[in-house]
């Protein structure tokens, strides 16, 4: 299988040839193959930096990723960006074929899902705020379960009396729900359109723009070391 002279063999690659010299094209093919192999082999998403580290310098990895994404868009496996990192995944429309692959996953209850959504859309959010939105006391276990899934985390403490803990989502959350960034949350525009983002509603009634990133807000303070020890979620019993 000589890569150099068999045009047909390049399959998907040749469609992206463009206006390159044969040498440039060859380098391009090499870059595509390399990134393809690195990402295909990996189970977890890889950042551009991680790919670059493996490839060495001189490759425009972002362009390669864009081309690969296009090439794979119609395939059974797609290249997707998740939380700034890239990974191959099976195409969503083939989910029916994959049922067998699915390990028995525990389904989160409604309250837990709702709490997760509130953390996602309102982060950073305190337990009291979650309860205010849901109009119900949140069982301590619910947040523990969510912490255990690795989808939410304790971000810090709100600088108000009582210094309540603030919660936010993790990269694992983004990865699980196939979100490139927290701003990609579905329905965000609808929520904004309904006037919940802007300050038209009274204090404490707004659905804020979900904030990305790990950096604390001005009204948050970091967790202390003691917090980190005491708050480590206990394993949830089966």
């Amino acid at each position: 299988m000589s890569r150099q002279d068999d045009h047909e063999g390049h399959a998907g690659l040749h469609v992206l040839k463009g206006n390159r010299t044969p040498e440039e094209h060859e380098r391009w093919i090499d870059a595509l193959r390399s990134v393809e192999a690195i990402l295909f082999a990996a189970q977890d998403p890889l950042s551009v930096e991680e790919i670059a580290e493996r490839l060495g310098p001189g490759v425009d990895i972002k362009r390669v990723l864009r081309d690969l994404k296009t090439m794979y868009a119609s395939r059974g496996v797609n290249l997707v960006e998740v939380a700034g990192s890239w990974m191959f995944r099976t195409a969503p429309d083939l989910a029916h074929l994959m049922r067998k692959q699915a390990v028995e996953t525990r389904k989160l209850s409604r309250p837990a899902l709702e709490t997760l959504a509130i953390v996602a859309y309102h982060q950073p959010v305190t337990r009291a705020e979650i309860e205010e939105i849901r109009g119900i006391t949140t069982a301590k276990g619910t947040l523990d379960v969510l912490l255990e899934t690795g989808w939410i985390r304790m971000r810090g403490r709100r600088k108000v009396p009582g210094r309540p803990l603030t919660y936010g989502t993790t990269d694992t959350f983004l990865s699980h729900f196939g979100l490139e960034a927290i701003t990609d949350l579905p329905g965000l525009d609808d929520l904004k359109g309904a006037g919940f983002i802007e300050g038209v509603v009274p204090q404490g009634f707004s659905i804020p723009v979900p904030r990305d990133g790990d950096s604390l807000l001005p009204d948050e303070e970091p967790l202390t070391e003691v917090d980190l020890i005491n708050l480590a979620p206990l394993p949830v019993e089966e």
Partner: protein, 280 residues
């Protein structure tokens, strides 16, 4: 409500709990709190939540709670708190517009706040639906099933300078010098040692015995044989001169015999002593 753990994983929620005192507490399963119940009732009005009649909603809620109580079922406290609050709101809404206190919201404002809270809950419910409808990793879409691990190839760059090398060699050979010196000392039988040993041994043996018999235990190896013989012989001559030892050899290269001397210093008349020779 208020149960940890299993419920969060979608376990069955009991509809009715026995509180242990005979009365039944309606857990209002299916309703996640009074706000959720209100939202459900509001939806049944089939109008935009922002144009909903809070008054009508309050009535529905109060009726619902009243019906439960009519069935002599105990209703969880927070539903009752909401009922009380709604009854209060209803009474204020039905009164002619009162004089508004500065720091207190009007009944209309309270109604609007409630409507907005309901709308917000509905919005987050919708968002939850949208979120869980997304293709989920490990449920709908799958990552690489058999990932190829990246093998870490450790390559060592060894470090050592010429200084290190020479220092190591120098001190190594220096140790070597000291060590060699010790070994020589052990391998050479000093004259004094030989004399001391011969004196001790000969005293114990009354009659002629071959010198080899005395020395055999000290000739531990071929390399020690010569030095032991030489030193022992030299020492024996000295002892003969002092009269502490007699020595005899029948002919050149024949075995040398020793015995205890008379104790008088030798006068040189003994014929045998001159013709002895050291084994090469």
């Amino acid at each position: 409500m208020g149960k940890a753990g299993d419920e969060d994983w979608g376990a069955e929620v009991p509809v009715v709990d026995d509180d242990g005192e005979g009365a039944f507490v309606v857990d209002l399963a299916g309703f996640e709190g009074p706000l959720d119940l209100l939202l459900t009732l509001a939806r049944s009005q089939k109008v935009d939540l922002s144009r909903i009649s809070i008054l009508a909603l309050a009535n529905q809620y109060l009726d619902f709670i009243e019906r439960l109580r009519g069935m002599r079922l105990e209703v969880a406290a927070d539903y009752l708190v909401m009922a009380a609050w709604l009854a209060y709101l209803k009474s204020r809404l039905m009164l002619p517009v009162e004089e508004k206190a500065e720091d207190e919201p009007s009944a209309q404002e309270l109604a609007e706040l409630l409507a907005k809270r309901l709308k917000r809950l509905e919005a987050i419910r919708l968002a939850t639906e949208l979120l869980i409808a997304r293709p989920k990793l490990g449920v709908d879409v799958f990552a690489r099933g058999a990932p190829e691990a990246v093998g870490v190839e450790r390559r060592f760059v060894w470090e050592a300078s010429l200084y290190d090398l020479l220092e190591a060699y120098g001190s190594q050979r220096q140790r070597d010098m000291v060590r060699v010196h010790h070994v020589r000392r052990r391998q050479v039988w000093a004259l004094a040692d030989a004399r001391e040993i011969l004196e001790r041994l000969v005293g114990a043996i009354p009659d002629w015995s071959p010198i080899e018999a005395y020395l055999i235990t000290y000739m531990t190896g071929p390399e020690s044989r010569a030095t032991v013989r030489a030193s022992a012989f030299a020492a024996s001559l000295e002892l003969v001169r002092e009269g502490k030892l007699e020595i005899r050899q029948s002919e050149p290269f024949a075995p040398i015999y020793l015995r205890k001397g008379s104790g008088k210093p030798d006068d040189g008349s003994e014929p045998d002593t001159a013709s002895t020779e050291e084994t090469p």
